[in-house]
């Protein structure tokens, strides 16, 4: 008889081992899935994990790692603060869209003026857009006790409709020959989030992501607010006794995650994406949830997890063009990762005991 026994202390070893085991299990079952789809599993796994880093065209793919990883890390750092405290913002996708719309809106309003102040203004506007969108569920939760999970998620669909309306209407390129989508910000020097070092993939969003990791680390490890977040997550009652104000915590965690998601949006729209289009968002806001968990809600872990997830995006693209692997297969692959992680996490808090156990 196998029985579960609660560990007196969560195991540190397993806390670190669980993500690695999850990745291995995902490779195994992902490979099985690819085999069922009629692809060579080893070749597919190699294409996804090896090709972007060390393959023939790695010089082209490595910068992509930063470009795809930065928004994931930026959003996931924000989400992790709330998740740690039991505040569930799952609408980062919406906040990301609103950040992009606010930022691009400011940039487009100044067109064709050239000034060094335009890009910083856009960044501020983007942060504000994400923040205000996240403040809707935050204020509703604080004022009325409304469930933030449902409200933040509903707002994703609202934001998507806004995006459609903007790219077909207000922000549509007047010189775009009737095609939907805004002017290309890459061709507007003052608004372009250009690479800081040509060919490196390093743009302001990547810088912001690294700063966010440091900020998250300092906040959680050294700051009083970080302590409040951790206590609230572990023991809400104890937190109340130690003087944590739950309403302020909700406003801070949701606001901060919205702000970071908004930043990710504005850096993306002014850089790699270039323009506001109907389908400019590609689900970073949802993938970031996986990144946050895979990184154990720890800033450094999130940095690594963001890199890994970016790798699956890029490798997935390569596998799609080289092996004809369907795009949805990569989505399944990423979903599997979260499943296995949640499953293996059991052994952080419990251990298996073999042998007879008496009835509890």
């Amino acid at each position: 008889m196998i029985a579960l026994e609660k560990r007196p202390e969560p195991s540190r070893t397993f806390s670190l081992a669980a993500p690695l085991l999850a990745v291995l299990a995902t490779m195994l079952f992902g490979g099985l899935l690819f085999a069922l789809l009629g692809k060579d599993p080893l070749e597919a796994i190699r294409t996804i994990f090896w090709e972007p880093l060390f393959g023939e065209f790695a010089f082209f793919y490595r910068p992509q790692l930063l470009i795809k990883g930065a928004p994931l890390v930026l959003i996931a750092i924000g989400l992790s603060l709330g998740f740690k405290a039991g505040i569930w913002n799952i609408g980062a996708e919406g906040q990301y869209i609103m950040g992009a719309l606010f930022g691009a809106g400011v940039g487009l309003a100044f067109y064709p003026m050239e000034s060094v102040f335009i890009f910083p203004l856009m960044v501020l506007a983007g942060a504000f857009g994400g923040w205000i969108w996240a403040m809707i569920p935050a204020v509703l939760k604080v004022k009325f006790g409304t469930n933030e999970i449902l409200v933040s998620l509903m707002l994703v669909y609202v934001a998507e409709q806004f995006l459609a309306s903007m790219s077909l209407g207000l922000m549509k390129n007047p010189e775009g020959f009737g095609f939907p989508g805004s002017r290309n910000l890459q061709q507007y020097a003052s608004a372009h989030n250009a690479e800081l070092i040509t060919g490196s993939g390093m743009h302001w969003g990547v810088v912001a992501a690294f700063i966010a990791v440091i900020f998250g680390y300092v906040l959680l490890a050294r700051h009083r607010l970080g302590f409040a977040i951790r206590v609230t997550g572990d023991a809400p009652r104890a937190a109340a006794f130690s003087g944590v104000n739950p309403a302020r915590l909700v406003l801070f965690c949701l606001g901060m995650s919205g702000l970071l998601a908004g930043l990710a949006g504005v850096f993306e729209v002014s850089g790699p994406a270039g323009q506001v289009t109907i389908d400019f968002n590609v689900g970073y806001g949802f993938t970031a949830i996986i990144v946050a968990f895979l990184g154990r809600l720890n800033p450094v872990g999130i940095l690594l997890a963001g890199g890994l997830m970016a790798l699956t995006y890029i490798g997935g693209d390569i596998a799609q063009s080289k092996l004809g692997l369907p795009a949805a297969a990569i989505q399944v692959f990423q979903g599997m990762l979260l499943f296995f992680l949640l499953a293996f996490d059991l052994f952080t808090n419990y251990r298996l005991r073999l042998g007879r156990t008496e009835v509890a």
Partner: protein, 306 residues
């Protein structure tokens, strides 16, 4: 704008069609939540049901077999959630999200070859001369079997929860799992069965979208209806008949929005299309003061040792 283009009888009859996916998904989730489990994977189970039902109906030519397959598909996917939360004691919020993300991806994978295919049509139930009663006939008696099945399901869930021993055990597990365990009820087994029931219902709801409401297959076609179903359970304070009322109100709003789009109202399409989500938020705000109705163990992890 031409509002006279809207036929009032067809308009009201459309309420039932718009509400049915919600009724199935929400009543399943209601039972799950009554046993103290919060499954946020409704959207994922719905979309899996949508594709399983669609594919089976196309391959076999029988829509009813499609609905059966959708129920099986939803239940199988929900087993993953049950395994994570009941056996591996994982966080229910995170596991539900994982289920949705996985379901959306997996359904897209399954559905690749079904884009653009037309499914076989499910015939309306023949009520004979009853259907010719003016107004009542065309509004109430003009639907397919699944619409009536949804109504029957709500009544059945209400009766079982309120009057039977099974209902009592379900509620006991949801209110206090430790006490239920002490009384000798198998908490994990009961919850797993409830989760599977919820999955099957969500699957049928999803298939109703892909087989009847739309009817075709596109990626991500459930478009948040699973999440709205979750909101509907809160709206209904975990009461089956309030859930039914909510679903019809909501179905009516969706129907109105679609009809206004069709009639060419001066409001841009995008703003009409976002209205169901905005209304859901507004309703949630008004109802969130009443928290007393939620099952006391909702979302808490159960382990026999603790």
């Amino acid at each position: 704008m031409d509002l006279s283009a809207i036929n009032p009888i067809l308009f009201i009859a459309g309420f039932f069609v718009a509400a049915t996916p919600l009724i199935f998904a929400a009543v399943g989730e209601l039972v799950v939540e009554k046993t103290g489990v919060l499954n946020l994977g409704v959207e994922g189970m719905m979309i899996i049901g949508a594709i399983c039902g669609f594919a089976t109906a196309v391959e076999t030519g029988s829509p009813l077999l499609g609905f059966a397959a959708a129920a099986v598909g939803g239940a199988v996917l929900s087993l993953l959630f049950a395994f994570l939360t009941q056996v591996m004691l994982a966080n229910q919020v995170a596991s539900g999200l994982a289920l949705t993300l996985f379901g959306l991806g997996f359904s897209a994978l399954l559905g690749q070859s079904y884009v653009g295919v037309k499914p076989p049509r499910l015939a309306d139930v023949d009520f004979g001369s009853l259907a010719e009663i003016p107004i009542f006939g065309p509004i109430i008696l003009s639907h397919d079997l699944i619409v009536y099945l949804g109504l029957a399901l709500v009544v059945a869930v209400w009766a079982v929860l309120k009057y039977t021993r099974i209902g009592l055990v379900l509620r006991a597990v949801g209110e206090n799992h430790d006490a239920a365990h002490a009384l000798g009820y198998k908490v994990v087994r009961i919850r797993t069965l409830a989760i599977m029931f919820g999955g099957a219902c969500a699957g049928v709801g999803g298939a109703y979208i892909s087989l009847i409401r739309v009817p075709q297959w596109t990626e991500g076609m459930t478009a948040g209806i699973g999440w709205i179903a979750l909101a509907l359970v809160v709206f209904a304070s975990w009461k089956p008949f309030r859930l039914l009322l909510g679903a019809y109100l909501f179905g009516g709003l969706v129907q109105l929005q679609l009809n206004l789009q069709g009639a060419g109202v001066a409001i841009p399409v995008e703003y009409l299309a976002m209205s169901p989500y905005v209304i859901t938020i507004v309703v949630l705000v008004f109802l969130s003061r009443d928290k007393g109705a939620a099952p006391a163990s909702l979302g808490r992890i159960f382990h026999a040792s603790s």
